[in-house]
């Protein structure tokens, strides 16, 4: 695909589990265009999370190539990968991964702090995204004082505060009740409509079916790649 923002070619990754090799990615090819909404589904151990980690530059493939906006990422030094990750990619985790001693504001602010941005710039951006996820009035609350849905919304605010082009979500509704889950999905889809490329790994069939592009993985390869309106 000529206009692919992300181009994966022949991606291989094998882990050792208890001394036994486990092939998580087996020559995976995938192109992702800007603004796409992709769900990745499949049974446990099919390589969904490994794919997400590769896309997020958290892991390196054993073989194959990964080009992000035309830049070959496999051989980049760690510092360059960290900067690329910080400036282009936002993560949302099933377990939220908020830092308990920091307030909602400080958790959201963290990527900007790591980027060395000025306090004034940070304040405007953080308040903006907290407002977007409906938590501006809870900015001084610590994670222990927020509900599950609120925690995930703080995590989404943190993921988008650097205005990333790609949002990677690993089971974003996995720890939430149905109402909170629906709420989070709405927030994510709104962000996608504003232009963010959204990749969601999920076991939830309903959530998976909402995506414009639905990928099914088995044994480290893509076995189904459906586009168009959800069925």
């Amino acid at each position: 695909m000529a206009d692919a923002m992300i181009a994966l070619r022949g991606l291989e990754k094998t882990y050792l589990m208890g001394g036994q090799p486990l092939r998580a990615l087996a020559g995976l090819d995938l192109d992702i265009s800007p603004g796409e909404y992709i769900s990745v589904m499949g049974p446990s151990g099919s390589g969904k999370s490994t794919l997400l980690n590769m896309l997020g530059l958290l892991d390196r493939p054993d073989a194959g190539s990964y080009r992000l906006n035309g830049v070959a990422t496999e051989q980049l030094p760690e510092e360059a990968r960290a900067a690329l990750r910080r400036d282009n990619i936002g993560f949302i985790f099933q377990a939220f991964h908020l830092i308990g001693r920091l307030s909602a504001f400080e958790n959201v602010e963290l990527p900007m702090v790591l980027a060395g941005l000025a306090p004034k710039v940070r304040r405007e951006a953080v308040e903006g995204v907290l407002d977007l996820v409906g938590l501006l009035d809870r900015q001084h609350h610590r994670p222990g004082q927020l509900s599950g849905g609120q925690l995930q919304r703080v995590a989404i605010a943190r993921a988008i505060v650097m205005k990333p082009r790609i949002l990677l979500a690993d089971e974003p509704t996995g720890n939430l009740d149905q109402a909170s889950g629906r709420d989070i999905v709405n927030v994510l889809e709104d962000l996608n409509r504003e232009g963010i490329t959204l990749v969601v790994v999920t076991h939830d069939g309903n959530l998976g079916q909402r995506a414009g592009r639905r990928i099914r993985m088995v044994d480290g390869t893509v076995v189904e790649d459906a586009r168009g309106a959800p069925g």
Binding site: E78, R85, H97, I99, V113, M162
Partner: protein, 403 residues
């Protein structure tokens, strides 16, 4: 990451682990305080010696009979050289132009009595010059007259303590006491000047040197104290003293000359070495604090794996993670240094209030040396935990997997 942000982040970690932070601070503070307080003792001793020397009077030269190398070791206490150092020798030395005053001394222990009261006392035979060179004054009566240097007058000046024991509140001046087998009239009582180099000036009886010659049946002097004039060259004066002695002792310079400056220098050298040594012993506690920081930091890295993984996932580089952990240790050490220095100076302040006679004071280098040692220990011992944190795989770290 901005420095202010890093400090704030580190501070948030501390406030989230109050007990752990307090214990680490305590370890560093104790180490720093140990260095500062121990070196204060050494420096205090050095200052004490300085004070004692200045209480002797300015720029003194002491001439002992006998050569150092002929007897070996310390200068002889009593004239045991082939040739005595005599009163005539002392008078000849006093004629050297750079000498302002002199005090020949013959010393011995005798019985001092008044009526039924008697005790053994250190008795010094000397001249009027002794009062000048030792900066002694009298609280009652007067010092020796000029002719006490030439005649065996039956007079004495008593130390304040002796006067109190023998006379109580009665007037002593003009009264008679017995020193050895002689009756002597008390002409003065020394002003209380405390102890000097372990000699209690209040427990001393001073008599004219000629009288002491007869009393102790010894023509030899115990020593001669010479006071230099302002601006006189000490080395030249020593040369002149040796020359005078050689002229009078058939070409032999059989005396030992000890100057106040050389004694002070020797003491200073010894006490500086001692201060450094005890400072180094104190620094060991800083190393122990460093090892404690390493242990706690390793535990902290292990406990904060998920947080480190998250930081990396949201864009922290290895260098930033390392900086965060090193910064945590160094900030802790800096706070520990401040606490330790405040505590040490507090103890020094209280000690000086309780014992004003001993000038306890840290040397100028104690705080910088303790701070540098503490920072170096903090940096070295937190390097490994910081390196481990920076090397964590973010995926595994967030899953809580230990590899």
């Amino acid at each position: 990451m901005r420095l202010a942000d890093q400090l704030r982040f580190n501070w948030q970690v501390f406030s989230g682990n109050v007990l752990r932070t307090f214990l680490l601070l305590l370890a560093v503070a104790i180490g720093v305080a140990a260095v500062v307080m121990l070196t204060s003792v050494g420096e205090g001793a050095r200052r004490y010696i300085d004070q004692e020397f200045s209480s002797l009077g300015n720029r003194l030269i002491v001439v002992f009979p006998g050569r150092n190398e002929t007897t070996g070791g310390a200068p002889p206490l009593f004239g045991n050289s082939p040739r005595d150092l005599t009163l005539a020798d002392a008078e000849a030395l006093a004629r050297i132009p750079s000498i302002r005053d002199f005090a020949p001394i013959i010393a011995g222990t005798t019985t001092l009595s008044r009526g039924a009261r008697a005790r053994e006392v250190l008795t010094m035979g000397t001249t009027r010059g002794f009062f000048a060179v030792r900066q002694l004054g009298v609280s009652q009566g007067s010092i020796f007259p000029e002719r006490a240097g030439e005649e065996a007058l039956a007079i004495c000046v008593l130390g304040a303590k002796l006067k109190g024991e023998l006379f109580g509140n009665d007037r002593a001046v003009g009264e008679w006491v017995r020193i050895g087998d002689r009756r002597m009239r008390v002409v003065g009582v020394l002003a209380d000047s405390g102890e000097s180099f372990g000699m209690d000036m209040g427990d001393l009886a001073l008599i004219p040197v000629k009288t002491a010659e007869q009393l102790f049946n010894s023509p030899g002097l115990f020593r001669v104290i010479l006071e230099l004039r302002e601006g006189a060259d000490e080395e030249l004066a020593k040369e002149r003293i040796y020359r005078v002695i050689r002229e009078r002792h058939e070409g032999e310079d059989d005396v030992t000359i000890v100057t106040q400056d050389s004694m002070l220098k020797s003491f200073n050298n010894i006490l500086t070495a001692l201060t450094l040594a005890i400072g180094a012993i104190g620094a060991i506690s800083l190393l122990v604090a460093g090892i404690l920081i390493m242990n706690i930091s390793l535990i902290s890295v292990s406990q904060r794996r998920a947080e480190i993984g998250l930081m990396k996932a949201i864009g922290a580089s290895r260098i930033q993670v390392r900086q965060l952990f090193l910064g945590e240790s160094l900030l802790l050490v800096c706070l520990g240094i401040v606490l330790g220095v405040i505590f040490a100076y507090g103890v020094v302040f209280v000690f000086r209030g309780l014992f004003p006679g001993f000038p306890l004071m840290p040397p100028w280098w104690a705080v910088p040396a303790a701070a540098v040692t503490a920072l170096a220990a903090g940096l070295v011992f937190s390097w490994l935990p910081a390196k481990r944190a920076a090397a964590l795989d973010p995926v595994l770290a967030m899953r809580g997997v230990v590899r």
